[in-house]
């Protein structure tokens, strides 16, 4: 049984910096997988190693069971990467860019698929426009299309929504979800955690070249204090509620709410202390809180 991606003890140094430190994990066929981490965590370095843009110092990477070092050509046919940096060739139009990219993959007549990509990414009316004349977000869409010309079963998107407007972000995700539903394996990096939360089923978190979490989204979310309640009060917080106290924010007290039934108790204590509640909101804890906790070293 092969995996869509298998990463086995991959390390990479840049001079004195350990950019990847024995990273191992697998991504299964058809998964929608998020690779998260702060700036400089090593996400792009790992993706570069998968794509053969850089060489790992040790360890192995396989794409659809194909070794990226010894079976380079076949492995590359299976992988589509949208690079993080916005790059383009200023000499050509959108259609020329996509036709050339198809050709580099050895694909001769790709017009039908190129047309479909243009349509799905809202580029049809820009097909014959020079790359230079596109806005940043549109160039980003072309990069997505370039990564898909050869219909790769595994698609890696390195921050595809950076600098992209809301509408495109929506349509891009609709398109990527469609690809995922059609069986493509998707790996995504993003700093918009709500995107990862909404889309991905499994999440890996990296920090300083190490993998610090790798779990199903739901498990990861349930590992943190599940809810918080934010209260604006007429007086001091009663001492009996101190154990739940998390922080003060905009003049409101934020309390942990391990269980929704605890709300009853919180309100009871407040009534007892004759403190009036002026405003109350309950937040579900999202990925963002889990992320912040993990990145600050604490266990979620």
């Amino acid at each position: 049984m092969t995996h869509a991606i298998s990463i086995d003890a991959v390390s990479k140094r840049f001079a004195s910096l350990q950019a990847l430190d024995r990273i191992s994990f697998t991504v299964e066929h058809g998964e929608f997988f998020a690779l998260l981490g702060p700036n400089g965590a090593g996400k792009t370095t790992l993706i570069s190693a998968m794509a053969g843009l850089s060489r790992a110092d040790s360890g192995r990477i396989r794409i659809m069971g194909l070794d990226t070092v010894t079976e380079t050509r076949d492995a590359r046919m299976k992988l589509g990467v949208v690079p993080q940096e916005l790059v383009f060739d200023p000499f050509f139009s959108v259609r020329e860019t996509l036709t050339f990219q198809s050709g580099y993959f050895g694909i001769r007549r790709n017009d039908a698929w190129v047309d479909e990509l243009l349509h799905k990414l809202g580029l049809t009316d820009k097909a014959n426009v020079n790359m230079r004349a596109l806005s940043g977000g549109m160039k980003r869409r072309v990069m997505v299309a370039q990564a898909l010309v050869h219909r790769p079963p595994v698609i890696v998107l390195d921050e595809p929504t950076a600098g992209v407007d809301v509408e495109l972000r929506q349509s891009l995700w609709t398109f990527v979800k469609e690809l995922n539903a059609a069986g493509h394996t998707i790996v995504l990096t993003t700093h918009y955690l709500e995107e990862a939360e909404a889309l991905c089923s499994r999440i890996a978190m990296m920090k300083k070249g190490r993998l610090i979490a790798l779990e199903n989204k739901d498990t990861l979310l349930s590992r943190s204090a599940a809810r918080e309640v934010s209260l604006q009060l007429s007086g001091e917080l009663p001492a009996s509620l101190r154990p739940l106290y998390l922080r003060q924010q905009d003049g409101r007290h934020i309390l942990a709410l391990p269980d929704i039934s605890q709300l009853e108790r919180v309100l009871g204590e407040l009534r007892l202390a004759a403190v009036e509640v002026r405003e109350l909101t309950v937040h579900e804890t999202g990925l963002e809180q889990v992320f912040v906790k993990l990145m600050h070293g604490g266990q979620a």
């Binding site: 843009l53 050509f92 050895g106 694909i107 001769r108």
Partner: protein
């Protein structure tokens, strides 16, 4: 194979779209050289028996322009895509090293030949005879552009910045092409400089190319062929290894 054809097509289109600057401009420059030098030196002795200085100058200028433009084509294309980052689109697909090398090389040769043909066309009126040895002519044109195209690939891969490439061009390529007997027969030089010229591979390209037109040259065309061909094969073999190793392209 198709990936090679695609990259070749892209590389040719790249310079052809700006042909005014990549083909017309060097042709004009060569024409200016021809006009000035032939005016100043028309009373000069015959370079070879029966070959006027004005006619002698033409193949040299053509070969020099071919060499410079073959070099410029691959080197500028590579450094541009490295600096803008668009080279990533060539590194992600399974393009083989021979396809990568071959496409850049052939595109350079095409540009060199286009410039060469242009130079010969506009300067022919100064008394250029029909080629005495067309096959030799073609062989040196192609091989000469090949050597400089390969050097351009090397420089483009090696340089990280435009000024490094400019240094390569100004301190290596320009002296090699100018001091190669374009403007004079090296037999007119003092022995020391004649010896130095014999170490310059561009000299053999120009000398061989001239042989194609006049049927006579400073050295035997076979010697020139051996030198230019040897340079080409050695350079290509070395570059192929460099590309396979991922030198400067895959960190």
């Amino acid at each position: 194979m198709y990936s090679f054809v695609t990259l070749l097509k892209k590389e040719i289109l790249r310079f052809w779209k700006v042909g005014f600057q990549t083909v017309m401009a060097p042709v004009l420059t060569a024409l200016l050289y021809q006009m000035i030098f032939s005016h100043v030196l028309s009373q000069h002795v015959e370079a070879y028996p029966g070959v006027s200085y004005t006619a002698f100058l033409i193949p040299g200028l053509a070969m020099m322009s071919m060499a410079q433009n073959a070099f410029a084509n691959s080197s500028s294309s590579l450094i541009q895509s490295k600096i803008t980052g668009s080279i990533v689109f060539l590194l992600l697909p399974p393009l083989s090293a021979p396809a990568f090398f071959g496409a850049y090389l052939l595109a350079s040769i095409v540009r060199g030949l286009a410039v060469g043909a242009g130079v010969l066309l506009v300067t022919a009126g100064f008394g250029l005879p029909l080629p005495a040895q067309p096959l030799w002519l073609l062989a040196f044109a192609v091989l000469g552009c090949g050597v400089l195209g390969a050097l351009g690939i090397m420089a483009g891969i090696w340089a990280d910045k435009f000024d490094q490439l400019a240094a390569f061009q100004n301190f290596l390529i320009m002296p090699l092409t100018f001091l190669s007997g374009v403007f004079y027969s090296i037999n007119s030089l003092p022995p020391l400089w004649r010896g130095v010229s014999h170490l310059n591979p561009v000299f053999y390209m120009i000398d061989g190319f001239r042989y194609g037109f006049f049927g006579q040259a400073d050295v035997s065309p076979w010697l020139s062929l051996a030198v230019v061909g040897g340079c080409f094969v050695a350079l290509s073999a070395w570059l192929m290894r460099l590309i396979v190793s991922g030198y400067k392209l895959r960190h």
